[in-house]
């Protein structure tokens, strides 16, 4: 790992941090729905795009650590949750791109995992905060709601699958867009498209 590698990680980590602090804070302030989803898809796009410029393994993870720590200076109350969120997204992208850092399939998977994590991070956090009972509680509430609405058994699971599919699709599209941006940037910077650097 040389100085050039760390300079790259630093610059892109700072870029992600800036996006989280400015765009993220702005969208959260507007209290728009699905802000987490949008930000996760953007983050996935940024990380996947970055790997088109620098396909070296570990880049996404290191960038995530830098971005998460940049987020620590974000104004506002609790920042530990978003920091964990950023780091986990980076780890998921790193895992997805591990075998083929520039492939479309890896990008799709990375994006889908990022948005799914962002959507269900709350649930995971609640699980950690309150223990396993919370899952039982939600399942019991869902089952009771299903009975009140006279829905056939198993409908809830289909609805959940649909939600997971939609959320994953948004993330995948975000990551593919990021991949395109990365490839365009590599082209504009006159980089070797085979990645032989």
């Amino acid at each position: 790992m040389n100085r050039a590698y760390w300079a790259h990680v630093t610059a892109f980590g700072a870029l992600w941090g800036v996006l989280e602090i400015t765009l993220g804070a702005f969208l959260h302030t507007l209290r728009l729905p699905l802000v987490g989803l949008v930000m996760a898809a953007t983050s996935a796009g940024l990380l996947v795009g970055q790997r088109q410029l620098l396909p070296r393994r570990g880049t996404s993870l290191a960038t995530g650590v830098v971005a998460a720590l940049c987020k620590s200076i974000s104004p506002g109350g609790i920042i530990l949750g978003p920091m964990i969120g950023i780091f986990t997204e980076a780890a998921l992208v790193e895992l997805s791109l591990l075998p083929w850092p520039r492939s479309r399939v890896g990008a799709l998977l990375a994006g889908a995992l990022c948005t799914l994590w962002a959507t269900f991070q709350g649930l995971v956090t609640q699980y950690l905060l309150f223990g396993g009972k919370i899952i039982e509680l939600y399942l019991a509430a869902l089952s009771r709601a299903g009975r009140w609405l006279h829905l056939p058994a198993g409908t809830g699971w289909w609805a959940l699958a649909l939600l997971v599919g939609l959320v994953g699709l948004v993330g995948g599209l975000g990551a593919l867009a990021g991949r395109r941006v990365g490839l365009d940037s590599a082209d504009r910077l006159g980089l070797d498209p085979t990645g032989g650097r």
Binding site: W6, T10, A62
Partner: protein
């Protein structure tokens, strides 16, 4: 109270949460709230988040009504004792972890993070984080500039070009932080690196860029075999002899010798090891490069090979500004032997995003390479007049 003592108390309280018993969890929460009240009042004040607490209490009540067998009556409602206990534990745990997170996110500073990473052998990561924090204002400005440059109508359709712009700016920023900004023409001996460099010099000058430095055309005998190298100052056109084949030292002036640029097509590959170099030639080239660094947008250095990969030849001239910390400096346009390219770029410390022009190549590739080179010049804060205007 020293932070390490508070950290120890926090760890003990976390330990008390592990068995999952309501009295122990309640004790841990009580101790931690007392700690916050005594030594971190602002932290305690930040725990006042009505929406969070309302949701937490509702979850606790919900678990009492939905979980387990209903064996208790509260306000006329039949509820489960086990469910209520589970709910109470959730609320207590939630409050404790929430309070802990508030304290931790305030107590851990940037300097601590850097020290912590350094302590576990990840000093580079710690420095990266510290540098990134310093970069935030500049990147934020870049982000706003890129956004404001978009036309008001159809702004959303321009998102992709803006993203590409932002990516390129960030990559070039990384390049500037890393070390010299360079672009390389790569090829095996006799592939036409010097000819390509001279062509590139012309194209760059057509773009009104100032180009300096040295090229190193080969010297050929009457049969077309390479017998030596000369050095040519791109600024003045002055030439000096640099090297000759051991067995064929030419007893004639440089002017009589034909250059590689004129005869690259029939060029016989040089055998690298069979040359004798004139140390005065290197000294002269170093002066030319140093002069070019002072005023040119692009500094050309040609024929980097085995010697440079071992730190000799042109390498001291290239490393001198790096050692002085005078980087990034002008954009370096280097002619590099293919088999030594990685070693030379590593030694120079140039970034991983260095564009390579691999010979042989098409005219279209050349145009793209020139455009990328010009962009690098535009983006590097090299010339004093550029710095003054930005």
């Amino acid at each position: 109270m020293p932070r390490w003592v508070l950290a120890l108390v926090a760890l003990t309280c976390v330990g008390l949460q592990i068995p999952g018993s309501l009295p122990l969890a309640g004790l841990a929460l009580g101790v931690w709230l007392a700690v916050l009240a005594l030594w971190d009042r602002p932290g305690l004040a930040r725990m006042w988040m009505p929406r969070f607490w309302l949701i937490t209490i509702l979850l606790g009540l919900g678990s009492g009504m939905l979980l387990g067998r209903r064996d208790m009556l509260v306000l006329g409602l039949s509820v489960s004792r086990a469910g209520f206990e589970a709910g109470a534990l959730m609320v207590v745990r939630g409050a404790f972890i929430f309070g802990l997170a508030i304290w931790a996110s305030r107590a851990v500073s940037e300097r601590d993070i850097r020290r912590m990473f350094g302590g576990v052998g990840l000093g580079a990561l710690g420095s990266a984080i510290a540098t990134a924090l310093g970069l935030l204002p500049e990147l934020e400005r870049q982000f706003h500039r890129a956004w404001s440059r978009l036309p008001r109508r159809g702004r959303w359709s321009q998102i992709r070009p803006m993203a590409v712009e932002l990516f390129c700016e960030t990559a070039l920023l990384a390049q500037r932080m890393a070390g010299p900004v360079a672009a390389v023409v790569v090829g095996p001996p006799g592939a036409g690196k010097t000819t390509t460099l001279l062509h590139l010099v012309q194209l760059l000058r057509q773009r009104s860029l100032v180009v300096g430095g040295v090229v190193q055309p080969g010297v050929h005998d009457a049969d077309g075999a390479r017998v030596g190298y000369t050095l040519r100052d791109l600024g003045t056109g002055e030439e000096r002899e640099l090297a000759h084949r051991r067995e064929t030292r030419p007893a004639r002036g440089v002017g009589e010798l034909r250059s590689c640029a004129e005869r690259s097509a029939q060029d016989a590959p040089a055998r690298g090891m069979g040359y004798e170099f004139d140390p005065r030639g290197w000294g002269w080239a170093r002066d030319v490069v140093a002069h070019a660094r002072g005023h040119a947008d692009v500094v050309v250095v040609d024929e980097l090979g085995r010697l440079e990969s071992e730190g000799q030849g042109h390498m001291p001239a290239l490393l001198e500004p790096v050692e002085r910390g005078d980087i990034p400096g002008p954009v370096l346009l280097l002619g590099v032997r293919q088999d030594r390219c990685d070693a030379i770029l590593r030694r120079l410390g140039v970034g991983p995003l260095t564009p390579r022009f691999q010979l042989p190549a098409s005219e279209a590739t050349l145009d793209r390479f020139v455009a990328s080179l010009a962009r690098r010049v535009e983006n590097s804060s090299l010339k004093p007049d550029k710095e003054a205007t930005t």
